[in-house]
């Protein structure tokens, strides 16, 4: 790679081309540009405008159910690509923008735990990672400083580490209620760690608990890379082209990647050449792009000699338990975000009848429409087949009086084990707005996940009952909860069974890298962005250090 400093003009060859401007792409761009490499990033979405986020408007909840719904098939916006989900138990959630899916994320900041990297050794299942928690920790601590994480140090669910850069957010009345129950049972809890600073930090405003995080933070307080990483990357010379949909990564006769073909905002096809290509398009977008990039040399899709591209998709099936209390809990107040987290049942205990475990995040109940819905989906309502008076008439008033402002919700993120039959493939018919084939999911919730969620739902119910809940509502395996898209291009040391090595470099194409969560060999039982960003940092550091040895087209 030339190492010429940034500022490349359109279509001029560059050192590094990045596909996707979410957290993983942003980490790559920022460090590569700072190291003096010329960088172009292509992102199908646009820069988000905080003024568009509905959180300050009275119709906030209504907008959350459509324009700002996390399922791209519900939003149906031209910048998203649709996903064919008729053969999937779970709908994948994501967002196309600078900042990627974190535009809508809840900001739960939960790095993987030591055991997550060693499930084969510890539990005899799936695979170990090629590196350990300790190997990753320095990258995690550096990412946490950039992200502006708020939290209290000393959580006994994790090994000791450097303190978070900003103090914890208040746990509020709902968090206190959750703690009452957990304390009675003697179960672990910790004030929620969130990607939302409590004081002004790295371009972010402090979180003021508006509670609308999952439709975009109108305060500029939720940590997203359009605020925390891209401005630095661009100042260092990285060029970010938005509205640019990549449809193919091209290769030359030597089998090296030469760059990508993309469709710009005006529908024109363009070509960006580069010495190195890094794909950061998430666990669905990345395998989709590799499968789209078929050539004579790579007839089954790029970097797919192992046949593993698209396989082992993990999405963290999710259940929720809502507890209703006599006391007022300021249920609409943020962060939304986790007020309190619990890792009591995180590690494997085979006597429970399933392997691995889950993390709980206690969240507020939301606005009045939230009494029957969660993150834009109506899941706590009677549903079809019920009587009018079940949810309407006097009962509506009773329901709102009982639940609104009196709820807390436990979200259960359970480890999804990898299975080759859970896959991303290309749909033969469906396309995005540029006519590029859309992905299709083949995904079944496993028996292990099913049993795990049943167990955790029962324990969460005990936790809210111990806190004095007068009503509990359980929603088992919510369909619209594929927010964590992992595993579909797994990393490993064996080229016959994995797509990339531990540095994100593909085994088949030496100048093609993947830095996003699709490389995760296993999924952990926590929200993954802290780990995705840390792994990307560890990988980009290595790429920079070895750049003089890098083969290029």
């Amino acid at each position: 790679m030339s190492g010429k400093t940034g500022g490349a003009r359109r279509d001029e060859p560059v050192d590094v081309l990045i596909v996707g401007a979410g957290p993983s792409g942003a980490v790559a761009a920022r460090y590569l540009a700072a190291a003096g490499l010329s960088v172009v990033a292509l992102e199908q979405g646009h820069w988000p405008d905080a003024a568009d986020f509905p959180g300050r408007k009275r119709e906030f909840e209504l907008a959350a159910q459509k324009r700002w719904h996390p399922n791209p098939n519900v939003r149906d916006l031209p910048r998203d690509y649709p996903v064919e989900t008729s053969a999937s138990d779970i709908n994948p959630l994501m967002y196309a923008a600078v900042g990627g899916s974190t535009t809508l994320y809840a900001g739960h900041w939960t790095p993987f735990l030591p055991s997550d990297f060693r499930v084969k050794t510890l539990d005899g299942i799936a695979d170990d990672w090629p590196f350990t928690y300790e190997d990753l920790l320095p990258s995690l601590e550096e990412i946490e400083r950039e992200v502006g994480v708020s939290g209290l140090p000393g959580n006994p669910a994790y090994p000791p580490q450097r303190a978070f850069p900003t103090p914890p957010l208040p746990i509020g009345k709902a968090g206190r209620k959750a703690v009452e129950g957990l304390d009675k049972l003697g179960w672990h809890w910790w004030p929620g760690t969130n990607a939302m600073p409590s004081v002004p930090y790295n371009g972010l405003n402090p979180c003021v608990r508006r509670g609308t995080c999952m439709t975009g933070c109108p305060e500029g307080a939720k940590s997203t890379v359009n605020i925390t990483f891209w401005p630095h990357a661009i100042r260092s010379g990285a060029r970010l082209i938005t509205g640019a949909r990549v449809r193919e990564i091209e290769v030359n006769d030597q089998g090296l990647a030469t760059g990508a073909v993309y469709i710009d905002e005006n529908g024109r096809e363009r070509r960006q050449r580069a010495a190195v290509v890094i794909v950061c398009a998430n666990g669905i977008g990345t395998p989709r792009l590799l499968l789209l990039s078929k050539s004579k040399r790579f007839p089954d899709g790029l970097a797919n000699r192992s046949g593993m591209v698209g396989k082992r998709l993990m999405m963290h099936p999710f259940s929720a338990v809502l507890g209703v209390f006599e006391d007022e809990l300021d249920g609409w107040m943020g962060p939304f975000g986790q007020l309190v987290e619990s890792f009591e049942f995180y590690e494997t205990d085979a006597s429970r009848g399933f392997m691995r475990g889950a993390k709980w995040g206690a969240m507020p109940g939301g606005g009045p429409l939230g009494v029957t819905s969660f993150v834009g989906s109506q899941i706590f309502s009677a549903g079809e087949g019920g009587m009018v008076e079940d949810v309407w008439g006097e009962n509506l008033h009773k329901l709102v009086a009982r639940r609104f402002n009196h709820c807390l919700v436990y979200g259960i993120i359970g480890e999804d084990l990898p299975e080759e039959s859970n896959q991303v493939v290309l749909d033969p018919e469906l396309t995005d707005s540029d006519g590029v084939p859309a992905p299709k999911l083949l995904y079944k919730v496993s028996q292990n996940s099913h049993d795990m969620l049943r167990f955790h739902v029962a324990r969460c119910t005990e936790a809210v009952e111990a806190a004095g809940a007068i009503e509990t509502v359980v929603v088992h395996q919510v369909r619209d909860t594929g927010w964590h898209l992992l595993g579909s291009c797994r990393m490993g040391e064996d080229a016959a069974t994995s797509v990339v090595d531990q540095w994100g470099r593909s085994h088949d194409v030496p100048n093609l890298y993947i830095f996003d969560g699709s490389t995760f060999p296993t999924s952990g039982g926590v929200n993954p962005t802290a780990t995705i960003m840390s792994v990307a940092l560890r990988q980009v550091r290595r790429l920079i250090a070895q750049r003089h040895l890098q083969e290029a087209a």
Binding site: L152, P156, S198, G211, G334, G367, L369, W392, E394, H397
Partner: protein, 142 residues
């Protein structure tokens, strides 16, 4: 199927909205806070995806007494009833009077004080968690 919010649509919506959200439990009926007024246009404008089901439902109940209308629509076309119900409840809970009655200030700013010692630290609750010691499984030795 007409998709204009004319006087007939407003009247039919008003009537069924009062069945779904009646005056009861100390709360006003939907029509008392004008859910059939300008807020109806605003909601249909914001959520054009609901329009088809909304107008389909309103069209199907023309001339029926409102109680019968709700029951029949629930049986014949529950999705249309759900759309009408969502429009009605969204409009209802957007009204300042209703928000005041249920004690909802809206999604407003409530800054915390980052310098304050959290209650759970001051009163020793968190210490109990710490006293139980680490709960993670460490990385096994290679």
């Amino acid at each position: 199927m007409s998709t204009a919010i004319d006087g007939g649509v407003r009247a039919a919506f008003r009537a069924i909205a009062d069945v779904l959200i009646p005056a009861a439990e100390g709360m006003p009926a939907a029509s008392e806070v004008d859910v059939h007024g300008p807020v109806l246009d605003r909601i249909i404008g914001l959520r054009p995806d609901l329009a088809e089901r909304f107008f389909r439902g309103i069209g199907a109940i023309a001339g029926l007494p409102p109680e019968t209308a709700a029951v029949q629509l629930n049986a014949a076309d529950p999705q249309a009833l759900a759309a009408i119900g969502l429009v009605a409840s969204a409009a209802y809970y957007m009204q300042p009077r209703v928000r005041e009655l249920i004690g909802y200030p809206g999604q407003e700013k409530r800054p915390g004080n980052p310098d304050e010692t959290p209650e759970y630290v001051a009163n020793g609750m968190l210490q109990q968690v710490l006293d139980r010691g680490p709960i993670f499984k460490p990385t096994p030795k290679a």
